[in-house]
Symmetry: C2
Subunit: 330 residues, 2 copies
Amino acid sequence: MRIHVQNPAGESQFAVTEAQWSAALSRNPDMTGLEVSFASDEEGLTQALPEAEVLLSWVRPLRQRFPAGALPGAAPRLKVIACTSAGVDSAAPFEWLPDSVALLNNRGTHADKAGEFGIMAILMLQTRMPAFADQQRRGEWKPLFASTLEGRRVVIVGLGSLGGGVARRARQFGMRVIGVRNGPEPHPDCDETHATEALDTVLPRAEFLVLACPLTERTRGLLSRERIALLPPGARVVNIARGAVWDQDAICDALEAGHLEGCVTDVAVPEPLPADHRLWRTPGMVVTPHVSADDHARYNDRTLDILFENIRAMRAGRPMPNRVDPVKGY
Amino acid sequence: MRIHVQNPAGESQFAVTEAQWSAALSRNPDMTGLEVSFASDEEGLTQALPEAEVLLSWVRPLRQRFPAGALPGAAPRLKVIACTSAGVDSAAPFEWLPDSVALLNNRGTHADKAGEFGIMAILMLQTRMPAFADQQRRGEWKPLFASTLEGRRVVIVGLGSLGGGVARRARQFGMRVIGVRNGPEPHPDCDETHATEALDTVLPRAEFLVLACPLTERTRGLLSRERIALLPPGARVVNIARGAVWDQDAICDALEAGHLEGCVTDVAVPEPLPADHRLWRTPGMVVTPHVSADDHARYNDRTLDILFENIRAMRAGRPMPNRVDPVKGY
């Protein structure tokens, strides 16, 4: 089986290396019969495509590189495109993707890191770190006390790797975890789960709200101005999903009006956020530059383990666990 | 048994109330035969002292109120002084305390809250939040990635309530926890423990260092300039002990020189910290105003439970678990 690894051009620190490949093979000794090639330029990709059966690639170039109808001619043997990111929204819509090619996301690489980021954000908001950061800027020593997280309610929208990772940590701190996802089926780290349709009935109970869903046409603008108003006064919001999942201006307005007490966001519209954007300066807002789920030291190793797990499934005739449904978008 | 509760003057939000007292009695139904009085002024204290057998008081007024030799005359029946704070350093030295009076600290009220603050601080430093706070001030979107806490080493100095609470959380995140305390006996949440005398051999291994010991004559200046130099380059330090436990200026110097990557301190010399103090503006330093261990919503309830636990021990002729050794200072 021929596998081509297309690394991002000019960002060699993210590249999957031959050494990481070899190490992954030693961890997965059943992965025999694989021939691999590596490239980070257009020429390397063009050379590899005619023979490649599996393409491991970062997600951005896919849509541009393959206009609708182009892929079968360029890569006649291709069966699998594995993306190195968990979110594949930047490759949507998927009219360029033939039915014969399975698109895999990289779900599973991010759970631990996102769980740590999420609980850090919750702890910071509970401890009132945004207010203390303001005070530090002014040189003001004014204690504001806060209780522990035990028994407090957190609503987590999206229970994939990111949301699931946060739910697990929140449970360790004794929080009451309310999950919201497409269906109402239970989740091992949630005290309750609700379908997205029930979101409006859940929001008034959210002392903390964590957005951790993929960006799809269904979730774009999900936390609208009207829904922000449904949150209880003093609620705190964490966004590790995508900036387009909430109404960013309405969030800033709600912080300025004092309806929300604080926010931590790792995402923004646009990214990178321009220096003069109001998000940077909204009181109670903590902005981090899209780092909540990426663990570079361990990322590529997990990426390859996930790829091999999917190849293993394909060889055994089982469904590939990371296959994206192009209609759902994740 | 006559118990007098002396609340802090002019800070009624911290006062132990009669309602909290009644609730504590219902939780501890064996606590019969107690007569209680409450005051927050000097007159109320003077009135209560001649008959009081137990005095529950905040720690600050004790030394001033009772010069050496004064206590037996003012409070001839007094057997116990219970302090509402865990650290009793502000009442030291204890030449004012007769051997016939047991001094209790409030150890045990702070473990959960301190554990949450400690792991929040570690997560913030790991995630590089001090750098992101700088970037937010400048409106700069520049990702800096970090791995998870798993397998990273944290040295915790002091394994009382505060340090023990942090150790428990650090273990939940898969950290390797190295405890330092007076003796080398093991601690259930530490992978290793070492005596304070071995501190210099432990510091070079500290990716994270958490100061959580009481301030005593032995720990004053414990993290000296020389010991800061023993920390590995890029080390991160959290201080939830007292500002006098580290050399505050040497810490600022080490951050400015880039030897340390970041610090979170909840304590300072002096407190409150003046607006023009360098600590506020040292790069990589996060300052919070002495809030790491105080959980006001639950504090007085725990204080009374701890007091009753000690009275129970005294009545049964057992050692009181919170009794301070005036020579050790904690």
